[in-house]
């Protein structure tokens, strides 16, 4: 019996993972996801947090058959880089779609889903995935 998913690590990133919370530069307006404390465009450290829309389109994708420890039941897993309407690019899984139907340019929206479980005793890790609109 071991704890394979760190609870504090998952917990402290909840806003970014459940709500796609980004940081926005209050000087130049650049949106940063994952959230960061300094704008890499203008060097400003005064950033505020904002939830992203979760609506966007598939820029590129892969269907992963050979999966990491703990992910066999989810295979094949479709991963994509999704370009949100705010212009921000996000890496996440696609769900509720048959792999052969995934296309570049496909419109998708964010949904809360289970990412993985720490066997049958540990933490259940939730996060955002995207599904076809």
């Amino acid at each position: 019996m071991s704890m394979k998913i760190s609870v504090p690590r998952v917990w402290r990133e909840i806003k970014a993972h459940y709500l796609l919370e980004a940081t926005v530069c209050n000087k130049c307006g650049k949106i940063h996801y994952p959230p960061r404390p300094i704008c890499d465009n203008c060097g400003n450290r005064n950033l505020f947090r904002r939830k992203l829309s979760g609506e966007g389109e598939v820029l590129t994708y892969t269907i992963q058959y050979i999966v990491l420890e703990g992910y066999r039941e989810y295979a094949p897993i479709v991963f994509a880089i999704v370009k949100l309407k705010e212009g921000v690019k996000i890496l996440a899984q696609l769900t509720d779609v048959e792999p052969e139907n995934v296309k570049i340019g496909m419109r998708v929206k964010a949904v809360l889903r289970k990412i993985c479980e720490d066997e049958n005793i540990g933490l259940i890790k939730y996060g955002i995935k995207f599904k076809p609109v």
Partner: protein, 354 residues
């Protein structure tokens, strides 16, 4: 029961998972005769995806309800999920849902359990909280990934889905309001799941007369008596629907014609979604009802209890129907899977450390 101040529905939403298994596939797997499940009047049922559970479906239904409610989500002051398939035995599902909706931390919230009736209890509690003026808006969710032992007759019907309602004081933004309610509970052990048991046990025929029928009829009659209404005063009736047959039978016993039942009878197409069963039925009815029409809603939970509600539809409902996916659209959006995928999605295959 009648609240001091009228409380209504501001928004509603459903989540119906995309995957379906045909009952014939389940019957064939376990060697039942093809006619065996015919009497249940359920042809196929939903199967939650491998990454869906009560929490994620509840979130999705709630999200749809909030879209229709057109309120700032942060105005929601209480949130409840009624379920009998909590992902964690101990640890609330509602905290995940509330956090992912962005409505924490100044809010009431809990997971409620009363078999398939827990979400209805949350409706009653929310009506009280809002009516008393303690809170303005409440979000009530019924969500289940219903368990059934492989090979049990329950497996033909036990499915997955969620429904959610934003309730608030009757006013400009409500699209229906609760005219009154009537609750009826007794200790009737027709269906249960013991601590640490993976699947429920049920009394088969015993789930009918002394449980489902006795409680629904008592609650419905009690409500009509109290409000001075007759079946002919209602335009629709939605009952808890563990299968397709029970609600049709109970409507005959109460004197409702079939056409008032069918719009809210969803189980034949998606199976029994437990805490969402009657509530998805209500969503479907709200999506076709006209202002001024009256709906009888009677959720039931084993163990046993039923609540009857009279719901009156108000102006402005039509404008909200297409703000989020309708029940009809969700039912039609489907992918069929075989028993192997079903078994994997439902966690019926034991893996050993992979």
């Amino acid at each position: 029961m009648r609240p001091a101040r009228d409380v209504g529905i501001v928004g509603w939403g459903a989540c119906i998972p995309k995957f379906r298994i045909k009952c014939s596939e389940i019957g064939k797997t376990w060697g039942f005769p093809p006619e065996y499940h015919g009497g249940l009047i359920v042809s196929e049922k939903t199967v939650a995806n491998i990454d869906e559970d009560t929490t994620t479906m509840g979130w999705e239904a709630a999200k749809n309800a909030l879209v229709r409610a057109k309120i700032n989500p942060e105005e929601v002051e209480a949130i409840y999920v009624g379920t009998e398939s909590k992902p964690y035995a101990v640890k609330p599902s509602i905290t995940v849902i509330a956090e992912a909706l962005g409505i924490t931390p100044k809010i009431l919230g809990a997971d409620l359990e009363f078999a398939c009736r827990a979400a209805s209890e949350a409706l009653e509690a929310s009506i009280g909280l809002i009516s008393s003026g303690m809170i303005k808006y409440s979000l009530v969710i019924g969500s289940d990934t219903a368990q059934a032992s492989p090979g049990d007759v329950l497996e033909f019907t036990a499915s997955s889905g969620a429904a959610a309602f934003v309730l608030g004081p009757r006013g400009e933004n409500t699209v229906a309001y609760f005219e009154g309610s009537y609750s009826y509970i007794t200790d009737t052990p027709d269906f249960w799941r013991r601590q640490l048991a993976p699947y429920p046990m049920h009394g088969e025929q015993f789930t009918g007369d002394p449980a489902y029928f006795a409680h629904i009829i008592a609650a419905a009659k009690g409500l009509m008596n109290k409000l001075g209404l007759r079946p002919s005063d209602f335009d629709y009736a939605v009952f808890h629907q563990p299968n397709g047959r029970f609600p049709l039978k109970v409507s005959v016993k109460l004197g409702f014609p079939k056409e008032k039942i069918l719009p809210g009878l969803i189980t034949p197409m998606i199976g029994n979604t437990y805490n969402a069963s009657a509530l998805i039925g209500l969503c479907a009815v709200l999506e076709e009802a006209k202002p001024g029409q009256r709906i009888l809603l009677v959720p039931f939970g084993s163990g046993a209890g039923a609540d009857a509600y009279s719901v009156i539809v108000e102006d402005g409902i039509e404008e909200k129907v297409h703000l989020a996916p309708t029940v009809k659209e969700l039912i039609e959006d489907k992918i069929y899977i075989n028993y192997t995928y079903y078994a994997k999605f439902r966690g019926l295959i034991s893996k050993f450390s992979f």
